[in-house]
């Protein structure tokens, strides 16, 4: 045999003759290629070694590669088929590393047009890997011939190489569409598939051409199953693009449906998968796809079962009822030897099944959860999370299961998703709180992920003091101080302080523990311990509130910036916290919103969306304004931006001019930013401004028009107003009109036809300034304490009948939105079936006035609300009460 001489090596390498080869010695051997008479067997063996090394990840330098490449070109004189084929392969492997590879162009061109069919296909592929756009033109003729060649191998090779080339030489390849079309009618299935791929690639930007292609092919019927799959995918792409004509839609859909009855499983599955994933599919259209998948569930081929269950799992997310018919088949799969299939079957059943089957399924899944990969474990966890919201009564079973999973081996993502689920359960289901916290306590006893431990400790600090028996958590937390790294110790100290501040009977014990922590080896831990110890020692409740239970309410990046500024200009006046803009609390996320991002259970391992940088709307607005020369000098007078509201559309989005208004609120001023967009290509607008009729008490200080607004550009006009002295007059409506000078212009160049223009106006909707624009949300960790503390402030109370509200939840959501305040203690969520509810809100009014609002809601023929406002400024309180009315 060929490698007998490697007998010795074989013994060393345990059956692998290539085990001990080295790059340098192989490169040395490669010089044999230059011998006058080529020994095919020897050269093939050496070349195999070179390719094997490359395949093992060995990296050749440019000179080394070039040397081997040139030596290899000598082998073209050999007639040995295998050697020649290996040379082609070698050329392709080295083409990206070696230099001057185009040297072999002529040899390859000769082989590509020669008689030996075995060389021709390989030569085409090798040639296309070394050629560039300029060289390509020279061989274009041969490529066209090769595409329509009778030999399927040659034709396929040419088509596939063209597709590779289309990345760099798209324009040139486009000219080969007729040849591709001709190749498409070939009898060989692979040629047909490759030709369709190339045709679609060439035409894919031309929607009409694609529609024509697809409608012709759907009637014709294709031989290659692969080509049918590709056609289904193209049809789906057309269906997903919105603006298709209704007629084509139905033909495309019926084509996909007809593929459900194709003779190969490959195509049937592709069609079913497509039906399930089309956004527009209705439950009725889904039925045939689901029944096909149901059949696949009982095949003997694991990949087919896997594919079927995975797709059913997707269906279960959008149309759970459609899958119930398959429940029996899925039940059979939960004991499948392929754990992935079993997991998917169970999670699908969990989504569709009844409450009664939960216990049984959980037991089943517990039996093998340790054997499956992390990705699947996360799928299971997500399914459990969904279950918890669906069947709150089952929380104890699910919670036990989750805690068992927490104790298992697993990566950070997996553990974090479990912890997240437990936290969600705790938040949504008060009954589950104590058990959930207990499980988390146990978990941090043995948690190797610092970030997770810190999060859980923070949660314990927040929720623990409010439970019936806060003392039991202290032990867990203090254990962390003894056993963990500095970051965790710091978090544990902070958590303990929370207990000290909120549970008077534990204060003494906490103080003892904190005193011990002052001896810690880490600076941060020691600092925290000293800080909390000192505050707790003063035993003043209002200090606890503002320095322990409440977190910092300013935005951290802004604080950093302000402090930096402060240290640059050394002054004797102490740093004023009030000058730092407040952090905006993220708007409420409704319960069903989180699923929007990554679809659960689809097993995408795309990384999580990048975290939003810590820059708030206010800061980005400030940066924008300070770049405008007219405003930069004004900014110091105005102070920091207190709040920037969400943009409001003042026009419909389809009109000639689109205007959006963003309100920037300062302590005593209001800056309106109007983003204007000109959608008329034959007009140039100049001196664009929004003329306002301000409400009573407002004064316009300054206006800044847009000098020029060309077609399809968005520019901003500004208007600075001063708030009225009287706070109660600060809510109001401003009439607004867009005023500008029109110049007709040439749509192509955008240059005006003449210098003359005419003035015109355009009505836009009114700008409303309401309470929400003037307050900033503030998150209170301990609302009740803050409320008590505010007892000596000004208090106003009023009762309202909100007749238009149908439910307490609706009322609560509306009030939160209207007042623009932050709900505390998750009071924005109304428990179902209750007839009364209390909403706790907190915020800061511009100028730094604290506002606390308690709204008692009762359901009785509409919603009745008793609103109590405590504010540091009586006018603010009055404004809040009057705003609701």
């Amino acid at each position: 045999m060929a490698f007998k001489r490697d007998k010795k090596e074989e013994e060393d390498g345990g059956g692998n003759p290539f085990e001990n080869i080295e790059k340098t010695s192989v490169l040395q051997e490669a010089r044999a290629f230059n011998d006058t008479s080529v020994n095919p067997r020897k050269c093939t063996h050496i070349l195999t070694k070179v390719l094997y090394l490359l395949n093992q990840g060995e990296i050749l330098g440019t000179t080394e590669a070039t040397e081997v490449f040139f030596a290899m070109t000598k082998l073209f004189q050999s007639k040995d088929v295998v050697l020649r084929r290996m040379v082609y392969l070698g050329i392709r492997e080295l083409s990206s590393i070696a230099e001057d590879v185009i040297i072999v162009t002529s040899s390859l061109t000769k082989d590509m047009t020669g008689n030996e069919a075995l060389y021709r296909a390989a030569a085409i592929r090798a040639l296309c890997s070394i050629t560039d756009v300029t060289m390509l033109q020279a061989i274009e003729r041969y490529m066209k011939q090769a595409i329509v060649d009778k030999n399927p191998a040659v034709s396929s090779a040419a088509l596939v190489s063209s597709l590779h080339l289309a990345k760099t030489a798209g324009e040139l390849v486009k000219r080969w569409v007729n040849e591709a079309q001709e190749a498409f009618s070939s009898d060989n299935v692979m040629v047909q598939y490759h030709a369709l791929g190339l045709m679609y690639h060439i035409r894919k930007t031309d929607r009409l051409a694609v529609i024509k292609l697809v409608s012709r092919l759907t009637k014709q019927g294709l031989k290659s199953p692969f080509a049918v799959c590709l056609l289904i995918r193209i049809a789906c792409r057309l269906l997903e693009d919105d603006d298709s004509a209704p007629g084509t839609d139905s033909t495309l859909l019926s084509f996909i449906e007809s593929c459900l009855r194709h003779k190969t499983e490959l195509v049937i599955y592709e069609a079913a998968h497509a039906m399930v994933n089309l956004r527009r599919t209705t439950a009725r259209e889904l039925a045939p796809a689901v029944s096909v998948l149901q059949l696949f569930c009982s095949t003997s081929k694991p990949p087919l079962r896997f594919a079927a269950v995975r797709t059913l799992n997707q269906v279960a997310m959008s149309h759970p009822s459609a899958v119930t018919a398959c429940n029996l088949d899925l039940e059979n799969l939960i004991t499948d030897s392929n754990r992935s299939i079993a997991t998917l079957a169970i999670t699908t059943l969990l989504k569709t099944g009844a409450e009664s089957s939960v216990d049984r399924l959980m037991k089943q899944i517990a039996s093998f959860v340790s054997e499956i990969s992390d990705e699947f474990k996360i799928v299971v966890v997500q399914a459990i999370r969904a279950l918890c919201t669906k069947f709150p009564r089952k929380h104890s079973v699910l919670m036990n299961f989750l805690s068992a999973m927490l104790r298992d081996e697993g990566g950070l993502d997996y553990k974090a998703s479990i912890a997240d689920t437990i936290i969600t359960i705790i938040e949504s289901n008060p009954e589950a709180k104590e058990t959930g916290l207990a499980h988390l306590c146990e978990f941090i006893e043995d948690c190797e992920h610092t970030s997770l431990a810190v999060r859980i400790l923070h949660l314990l600090g927040r929720e623990g003091p409010k439970t019936k028996q806060p003392s039991r958590y202290i032990r867990f937390i203090y254990n962390r101080v003894i056993l963990e790294n500095a970051a965790v110790r710091g978090a544990a100290v902070a958590a303990m302080a929370q207990f000290g501040a909120q549970c008077p009977d534990l204060l003494e014990n906490v103080q003892v523990l904190l005193a011990r922590c002052q001896m810690d080896s880490d600076d941060e831990v020691r600092d925290r311990a000293t800080y909390y110890y000192t505050i707790l020692a003063l035993s003043k409740r209002n200090l606890y509130n503002s320095y322990i239970t409440e977190s910092l309410q300013v935005s951290i990046p802004a604080l950093e910036k302000s402090l930096h500024q402060y240290t640059l200009n050394a002054s004797d006046t102490p740093f004023d916290m009030k000058s730092v803009p407040l952090a905006a609390v993220e708007p409420l996320v409704l319960e069903n919103a989180p699923q929007k991002g990554a679809p659960e259970g689809t097993l995408l391992s795309t990384p999580a969306a990048p975290q939003r940088l810590g820059v708030s709307k206010e800061e980005s607005a400030l940066e924008l304004l300070s770049n405008i020369p007219e405003f930069a000098p004004l900014l110091p007078q105005l102070g920091p931006i207190f709040r920037t509201s969400e943009p409001v559309e003042l026009t419909e989005s389809e009109t000639e001019y689109v205007v959006r208004c963003i309100k920037h609120c300062f302590a005593r001023h209001l800056l309106l930013q109007f983003d204007c967009l000109n959608t008329l290509s034959d007009q140039l607008l100049e001196n664009v401004r929004v003329s306002l009729e301000p409400a009573e008490g407002y004064r316009i200080l300054r206006e800044l028009p847009i000098p020029k607004l060309p077609y399809n550009e968005t520019c901003s006009a500004f208007c600075l107003l001063e708030f009225p002295e009287e706070l109660t007059a600060s809510t109001g409506t401003f009439g607004a009109t867009l005023a500008y000078m029109v110049k007709d212009c040439d749509p192509a160049t955008g240059l005006p036809d003449s210098d003359d223009g005419y003035d015109d106006t355009y009505m836009v909707e009114d700008v409303e300034v309401n309470l929400a624009d003037q307050v900033q949300r503030v998150w209170k960790g301990n609302w009740a304490a803050a409320w008590e503390e505010a007892a000596n402030l000004c208090e106003l109370e009023d009762t309202y009948a909100l007749t238009s509200m149908r439910s307490l939840q609706e009322a609560s959501t509306n009030i939160v939105q209207f007042l623009g305040l932050q709900p505390a203690d998750r009071s924005e969520r109304v428990q179902e079936g209750k007839s009364s509810h209390t909403l706790y809100l907190a915020g800061v009014f511009r100028g730094g006035h604290d506002v606390l609002v308690r709204a008692k809601l009762a359901l009785a023929d509409g919603v009745t609300m008793q609103l109590t406002v405590r504010a540091s400024n009586p006018d603010v309180a009055e404004l809040v009460t009057s705003a609701v009315g």
Binding site: A2, F3, N16, F18, T44, H45, L47, T48, L51, Y52, N55, Q56, G57, V82, R85, M86, L89, L118, A121, R125, P152, A153, S156, A157, V160, S161, L163, H164, M190, H194, G197, K204, F226, C229, L230, R233, C236, R237, E240, E265, L266, E270, H273, L278, P302, P303, L304, F306, Q314, S318, S337, N338, S340, I341, S373, E375, P599, T602, L603, S605
Partner: protein, 178 residues
């Protein structure tokens, strides 16, 4: 469910690999520059893949966002990888073609030693099955025909009695060992 509709493209296969019974790479090719760009990442993935698959004969697994279908024989493991949304049956077709081609090249003697003896031909076969992620050929007969078997591998009719006996013995041995 957005994004799970498949892009109409011929680029279907993300990678193919043949590993030995210690999880070491015999041959492997990755076709998407965005996944596992370096040899180190590739080998780490292969190790992980092997650990997850060498005991269970489950034929399919999801790993690192890839759908991997696999088959094994004696001391060799064959894998084909595709995107997590890819039609599993297409990948399966490619895998079967790879396995059957290798099996035909090695005359049903699918084991590591035989594969290394015919490494050059197996390299050519892998190349004929998939080019840069596009499935070139899914019929193993066509693949075997195109890779030009060695001339000294005499067709059955022309083999000497001793040769036939030898190959029969080998086949019997492996079918018993399986």
């Amino acid at each position: 469910m957005e994004g799970s509709l498949l892009e109409p493209t011929l680029y279907v296969v993300k990678g193919m690999a043949i590993l030995d019974n210690d999880g070491h790479r015999v041959l492997a090719k990755y076709y998407d520059k965005n996944i596992f760009p370096t040899a180190k990442e590739q080998k780490a993935f292969e190790k992980n893949l092997f650990n997850k698959t060498h005991r269970a004969s489950a034929e399919i697994i999801m790993l690192d966002g890839l759908t991997c279908v696999y088959r094994s024989n004696v001391d060799l493991f064959f894998y084909v990888m595709g995107s997590s949304h890819e039609n599993e049956l297409i990948l399966m077709t490619a895998l079967n073609c790879l396995f059957d081609s290798v099996s035909a090249i090695l005359r049903k003697n699918v084991e590591k030693r035989a594969l290394f003896e015919n490494l050059d031909i197996v390299m050519l076969a892998m190349d004929e099955i998939c080019d840069g992620g596009i499935i070139m050929e899914a019929d193993f007969n066509a693949v075997v025909q195109r890779v030009a078997l060695r001339t000294d591998d005499i067709p059955l009719g022309e083999q000497t009695v001793a040769q036939v006996l030898q190959s029969a013995k080998e086949q019997l041995k492996w079918s018993l060992l399986k």
